[in-house]
């Protein structure tokens, strides 16, 4: 008798089939990885187990959790099981906690709602759960609010809520997708430790095979609402049959083919750049204090080169990006593009700005939803003094990223995440810049889509002679596409060199730590 048995599960949402004949089992103490792209139905499988489906969701088949027929139980009975028999951890730690309630109260609520204990005891148990999730009392008292914690710490609070009652099954839905690599490694090992200690069944959902490869006992690969292949891990990696599984394996460590066109001439030259932010005054007439986000950074990018800039959130890489784009004034140093200052007087230098464009991380948030693609893509035209043939330029930009000219009349919601990122690239390409800054441009994408976008970028780089600055927290991305690499920590560049050298012979302790944190396939 398995802990969780899903057998022939079908799910429709408002009549649209989402899951088809999904079957899988999770044994007590077993870690099961569920892998698939967005839209493969992996999260909906989890929601079917929890029975927290969106409105209009209709599930049929069998879902048995320690002998409870989850599809037949009343809402009241389900409430008794959720949080008690089965706990769940979600993808987005920044929004998963109630922003106006202290973390202690939120964890204690799990206990209070299921057990008839005093408040003091519930808080005591919440404290123990937080301690187990490596949030010690001296640094993380229960009176903390979520906004006082980082993303990784918030995810630990969510995990503490889920394990406070030591449920038999823990479901983690993309628990680390929104986190930096080092934080990801810590959270994954925490989940693994908790599951092993309590003998909990862990259902770990992710789009990245590498994430589960070295911790799962069993792997289930899903696509379009169906299970395409499953088997024990790591044995499955050698016996994979289904073309989709093999493709998934291939893209996990995808190496786009690139042609060298690097020259010696520097295109962008950053010299001794310092960026200070004014801190809020502690007293009314106290002296103004500053936070130094970038501490004297210098580097060059040669024309035609791909340079990687790697570091965790908060290391100063986004601040540096804004300075390079001329969006903010630097306090010391200079930034020259093609020999000209990017920031002159009190504003960005327009003549220089038109030579560089940026692609941001979030393909959902970085477009105005009420504009047509035509208007979105042609926005950088305001940087030009002489307008080219508008329609021809829009069509060319869209075609060069693999879309068609007719897409210009559509709105952004009609496109998938990968297509949106193509549109963002088209927007960057349209004025034929020389430098494109990719600020975590593929971090929010599934591995397979990510591989396609990386191929596209490599192809465009060759065709248009582009220079790239790749900014990312994810070393594996940088590894396969960059000629040289900079590693940034606390506003300083701690290591630099040819990418392959850095990966094979890292010198700085921080670089070693970053490389160790990257999940690997066997």
């Amino acid at each position: 008798m398995s802990l969780l048995e899903i057998d022939g599960l079908n799910l429709e949402i408002h009549g649209t089939p989402i899951l088809r004949d999904v079957s899988l089992t999770v044994e007590a103490g077993q870690i099961v990885g569920i892998i698939g792209e967005s839209g493969s139905g992996k999260s909906m499988t989890a929601f079917s187990v929890m029975q927290i489906l969106p409105d209009g969701g209709l599930a049929s088949g069998t879902v048995r959790l320690s002998d409870h027929d989850m599809l037949a139980l009343s809402e009241e009975a389900l409430c008794k099981l959720r949080g008690n028999e089965v706990g769940m951890v979600f993808q987005e730690p920044m929004t998963a906690l109630n922003p106006i309630q202290q973390i202690g109260a939120q964890v204690a609520e799990t206990v209070l709602i299921h057990e008839n204990v005093s408040r003091a005891e519930a808080y005591q148990r919440a404290r123990e759960a937080l301690n187990r999730c490596e949030l010690p009392e001296d640094k993380f008292p229960m009176s903390r609010y979520p906004h006082e914690l980082s993303g990784g710490q918030r995810q630990r609070v969510v995990i503490a809520m889920a394990i406070a009652l030591q449920p038999k099954l823990l479901i983690a839905d993309e628990p680390t997708t929104a986190l930096d690599v080092t934080t990801q490694a810590e959270v994954l090992s925490l989940l693994k430790r908790l599951a092993r200690e309590d003998g909990t069944g862990l259902m770990l959902i992710t789009h990245d095979l590498a994430v589960v490869a070295d911790m799962a006992d069993h792997i289930v690969i899903m696509r379009n609402g169906e299970v395409v292949e499953s088997g024990p891990c790591p044995a499955l990696f050698d016996t994979m049959q289904h073309p989709y599984s093999q493709a998934l394996l291939a893209v996990s460590d995808h190496q786009p083919s690139r042609e060298e066109h690097v020259t010696q001439e520097p295109l962008l030259s950053v010299k001794g750049v310092v960026r200070d932010y004014a801190l809020p005054r502690s007293k009314l007439f106290a002296e103004q204090e500053y936070f130094r986000a970038v501490k004297g950074v210098s580097f060059n990018i040669r024309r035609g080169e791909s340079l990687g800039l790697v570091g965790e959130s908060g290391c100063g890489k986004s601040t540096l990006t804004r300075a390079i784009l001329g969006l903010e004034q630097v306090q010391e140093g200079s930034i020259l593009l093609d020999g000209e200052e990017v920031f002159t007087g009190k504003q960005p230098n327009r003549a220089v700005r038109r030579k560089m464009q940026v692609v941001f991380q979030d393909p959902y948030g970085s477009f105005n939803p009420r504009w047509t693609v035509r208007r979105l893509v042609s926005e950088p035209f305001h940087l030009l003094d002489e307008l080219p043939d508008r329609e021809a330029a829009i069509a060319e930009a869209l075609q060069s990223v693999g879309l068609v000219a007719a897409d210009a009349d559509k709105y952004i919601h009609e496109f998938s995440g990968g297509q949106r990122q193509r549109i963002a690239i088209a927007r960057a390409l349209i004025i034929k810049p020389e430098l494109i800054i990719l600020d975590e441009a593929v971090s929010a994408l599934d591995v397979s889509i990510r591989a396609q976008i990386l191929d596209l970028l490599a192809d465009l780089g060759t065709r248009f002679g582009l220079t790239y600055l790749f900014i990312s927290h994810d070393l594996s991305v940088v590894r396969n596409v960059c000629d040289r690499c900079l590693v940034m920590q606390n506003g300083e560049i701690v290591e630099r060199g040819v990418t392959a050298d850095i990966f094979e012979r890292p010198q700085h302790a921080y670089t070693k730590q970053l490389i160790a944190a990257v999940p690997r396939l066997p």
């Binding site: 929890m50 927290i52 809402e75 009241e76 409430c79 008794k80 099981l81 959720r82 949080g83 008690n84 706990g87 769940m88 979600f90 987005e92 929004t95 998963a96 906690l97 109630n98 922003p99 106006i100 309630q101 609520e109 799990t110 709602i113 299921h114 609010y145 906004h147 969510v158 809520m161 889920a162």
Partner: protein
């Protein structure tokens, strides 16, 4: 939190100072000489001058501003040009009608809007939701003076439960006074409650779609528990904003309802003083209303911070 309150207090005082200058200058540029208005068309120049002197209209700009503000701080609002009585007395009497009326209407509006909005949001798309939404649509659309007259017809003239107008006075006892404010308060509260219920509903629906509600449900909370424990307080911010705006409106904007029910409130006072060029009364009442609005905004700010810990830091 204490620092937050002190900072807000400082900004309250500054806003008041700026508002007083603006009001003073505005009244200065309004055409019309109060002395000429009081003495009529045929007044002699020296009589006019003497009256201007007596009213304090002849000093320099700064001097007059200083004496106006200084007087207000001591509770002396000057003397009405038309009625020749101290402005503070006139305002005092009317304040005892306008303030309780505004509070009464606000309490009614909140008491109707909260349950209606929460009920509609918790049963989204159901018959209950649709009926609450249709009723509030009607409540926003109906002009409140028409509704007021309708209530007078039904409850005062036909049923004779309430009097058709006038104010019993607080001397007649608390309940008698409240009784004469009931129909006006209901007339004022109805459109406000409709707006507030709609804001409450949409704000609550927004928060019910948040990720942390899903987290709460995964902990084992029922839909209803998640709504009461997690969604409601998060949904309050926009609602508090509207309540603050509504109170300001009720203090100053009740003039039509005051006329329908023959209530001698602040709204009528301003209206009468403007038509009589009684600038000193206008100045003082406007300043008083500005004071009320700023104080209410201060209280709303404090309420925000009580609801949302993130705001305590940011201020």
């Amino acid at each position: 939190m204490l620092r937050f309150v002190l900072k807000r207090l400082l900004s309250l005082v500054l806003s008041l100072a700026v508002a007083s200058v603006v009001i003073f200058l505005f009244v200065e540029v309004v055409p019309g000489d109060p002395a000429a208005y009081m003495l009529g068309m045929n007044a002699q120049e020296d009589t006019l001058n003497a009256l201007r002197e007596q009213l304090g209209l002849n000093g320099g700009l700064f001097e007059r501003y200083a004496s106006w503000v200084g007087g207000m701080l001591r509770g002396d609002f000057g003397t009405s040009y038309t009625y020749r009585t101290p402005v503070s007395e006139m305002i005092g009497e009317r304040m005892w009608i306008s303030l309780p009326l505004a509070l009464f209407a606000l309490a009614l509006s909140t008491a109707i809007a909260f349950p209606a909005g929460i009920w509609a949001a918790s049963k989204r798309g159901s018959f209950a939701d649709v009926s609450v939404m249709s009723l509030t649509q009607l409540g926003v659309a109906i002009p409140n003076f028409w509704f007021a007259m309708l209530m007078v017809l039904v409850f005062a003239i036909n049923l004779r439960w309430f009097s058709a107008g006038g104010f019993a006075g607080w001397d007649a006892g608390f309940w008698a006074a409240m009784k004469s404010l009931t129909l006006p308060a209901v007339a004022l509260a109805l459109p406000q409650a409709s707006i507030l219920a709609r804001v409450m509903r949409s704000s609550l629906l927004d928060t019910l779609g948040e990720d942390y509600i899903r987290t709460a449900r995964a902990k084992g909370l029922s839909r209803r528990q998640a709504l009461w424990r997690h969604a409601l307080r998060n949904a309050l911010i926009p609602v508090l904003t509207i309540i603050g705006l509504q109170f300001s409106f009720l203090m100053a904007g009740a003039i039509i309802i005051e006329n329908v029910f023959f209530l001698p409130g602040l709204g009528r006072l301003v209206f009468q003083s403007i038509s009589a060029r009684d600038l000193i009364v206008v100045e003082s009442v406007v300043m008083l209303l500005v004071f009320a609005v700023i104080v209410v905004n201060f209280l709303v700010d404090i309420a925000y911070a009580l609801v949302d810990p993130r705001l305590r830091v940011r201020a």
